[in-house]
């Protein structure tokens, strides 16, 4: 019988014990999710910082591996908490003031347009329009959407990462999706 793959916590412990390969394996599991999260949170204006913040996130993981407690949170929750904080710190250093979405309510003013053709991304152009629409979301909504879509975190963990209650996390995710559909539907209408 094939041995079960090591859990994230086991890999972290192995890394703490000096196993360099364990860290590489863990990195490979979450590299894309972490990088895309950081990159999309930064948006086009701060895209240059994505590589550095992604690296800083993993260095923090490497340094604090021994402190990870799987009973408190899953590894992805921990990872995204650190990554999100790196982004926030970057914004703070850059004196980016708009950190909290002010127009969450306005997202619900228009009805959800329902599925759009963009939901089947089959070209580079469509892909670019999709990520541009995501980067235009208010930060907290964007954060909730990215954690759910690429990070595959359940609502409870999105709430943990973003430091809000479950209901707030749920509302942000819902608003993000509605707003995304609105933007994509409007773009689609412009292209027709």
């Amino acid at each position: 019988m094939e041995a079960a793959p090591a859990t994230d916590a086991q890999l972290l412990r192995a890394h703490s014990a000096g196993d360099a390969q364990a860290f590489a394996r863990l990195y490979d599991r979450y590299d894309r999710a972490c990088f895309h999260f950081v990159r999309r949170m930064l948006g086009a204006a701060h895209a240059d910082a994505a590589e550095d913040l992604h690296q800083e996130t993993w260095i923090s993981i490497a340094k604090s591996a021994a402190a990870f407690d799987p009973d408190k949170a899953s590894f992805p929750t921990w990872l995204f908490t650190i990554a999100r904080r790196k982004v926030w710190d970057h914004f703070r250093r850059q004196k980016v003031a708009v950190l909290v979405s002010a127009d969450e309510e306005s997202a619900m003013a228009a009805p959800d347009p329902g599925p759009t053709p963009l939901e089947q991304v089959q070209s580079q152009e469509l892909a670019q329009r999709m990520v541009t629409a995501i980067e235009a979301l208010p930060l907290e909504q964007r954060s909730a959407f990215l954690l759910s879509a690429y990070g595959e975190l359940p609502l409870s963990e999105i709430a943990l990462v973003t430091g809000v209650g479950l209901e707030t996390a749920k509302t942000r995710l819902r608003y993000a999706r509605v707003r995304l559909r609105q933007v994509l539907a409007a773009e689609e209408a412009d292209h027709v």
Partner: protein
């Protein structure tokens, strides 16, 4: 739970597809190499720092042991030089202002009761032998050591300077040491008094106050933390490991103290000897409440 948890949204899949379209495998490979190399460097640095910390700790322990021993010896010598009442009235009283001679027997050298301890000459070996209780084992230091002195001596790491202000005892000849061993029932009050005054002498020292602040933060003694800060102890004062009170409060899950220290301007980015900052420690905790308190989350 919410329907969002159980029903995958088509937008999620669309977004993952979009990223797949935009992924640059070469850039990803280069990023991987950079991150893993940096992590490896970091691990090496950490290992070397750990080694240095162990050496530092070892040195600290050795110094503490020496300090503790010095305190112990100082206490014993102090007891040895204390005035003792003569066992019987002297048949021919010596003149009142006559200095006590270094006489070979206790009968011939009664020390004036009012004579300051520091000026009292060491008692000769013969007297010591006579006053040694038969039950005490002269080779067993621990058996004869007063418990209060032992307890205080364990505090030596933070009271190295406390051990120093007993100069007259340190200068006394080594031959007076057996007296201390010979008196298992040494007055605890005397030791307490000596240490109390030693503590008073060093209470104002910066390192001691810094250590107290850090210890109070780690133990959740918020009143003491406030008092020390109000007394002017620097909020970023460090202990032997280079850790600030803020770091200790984060490690010890003391969010109220962390909030207080942060409000008093504690530095989140200052690093301890292992290269970790309070910010790193808070990140490792992944506690949204703490993050908010420290201004790390909106």
């Amino acid at each position: 739970m919410s329907d969002y948890d159980v029903t995958p949204d088509p937008l999620d899949k669309a977004y993952v597809q979009a990223e797949a379209f935009l992924d640059d495998e070469e850039a990803r490979a280069a990023r991987r190499a950079r991150v893993l190399a940096a992590a490896s460097r970091e691990a090496e640095i950490q290992t070397s720092r750990d080694r240095r910390t162990i050496w530092r700790l070892g040195g600290g322990l050795a110094a503490a042991a020496v300090g503790g021993l010095s305190v112990l010896l100082a206490m014993h010598m102090r007891e040895a030089s204390a005035p003792r009442p003569p066992p019987a009235p002297a048949p021919a009283p010596a003149p009142a202002n006559h200095p006590a001679p270094n006489a070979p027997s206790m009968e011939a050298s009664p020390l004036p009761a009012a004579k300051p301890t520091a000026l009292a000459p060491p008692q000769p070996a013969k007297v010591e032998a006579e006053t040694r209780p038969p039950a005490a084992d002269a080779n067993d230091l621990s058996a004869a050591r007063p418990s209060s002195v032992v307890t205080t001596a364990r505090r030596a790491p933070e009271t190295m300077s406390e051990a120093l202000p007993v100069p007259q005892s340190v200068e006394e000849p080594a031959q007076s040491r057996p007296v201390a061993r010979a008196k298992p029932a040494a007055p605890a009050a005397m030791a307490a008094q000596a240490f109390s005054s030693a503590e008073k002498a060093t209470a104002g020292s910066t390192s001691d106050q810094a250590a107290r602040l850090v210890a109070a933060a780690a133990s959740g003694r918020i009143g003491e933390v406030k008092a020390l800060l109000e007394r002017g102890v620097p909020v970023d004062a460090i202990d032997a490991d280079g850790e600030t009170a803020l770091m200790k409060s984060i490690r010890a899950d003391q969010p109220a103290i962390a909030t207080l220290l942060h409000a008093r301007g504690a530095d989140l980015d200052r690093e301890n000897r292992a290269g970790e900052s309070a910010r790193d420690m808070a990140a490792a905790k992944a506690d949204p409440g703490l993050d908010k308190a420290l201004g790390l989350a909106p």
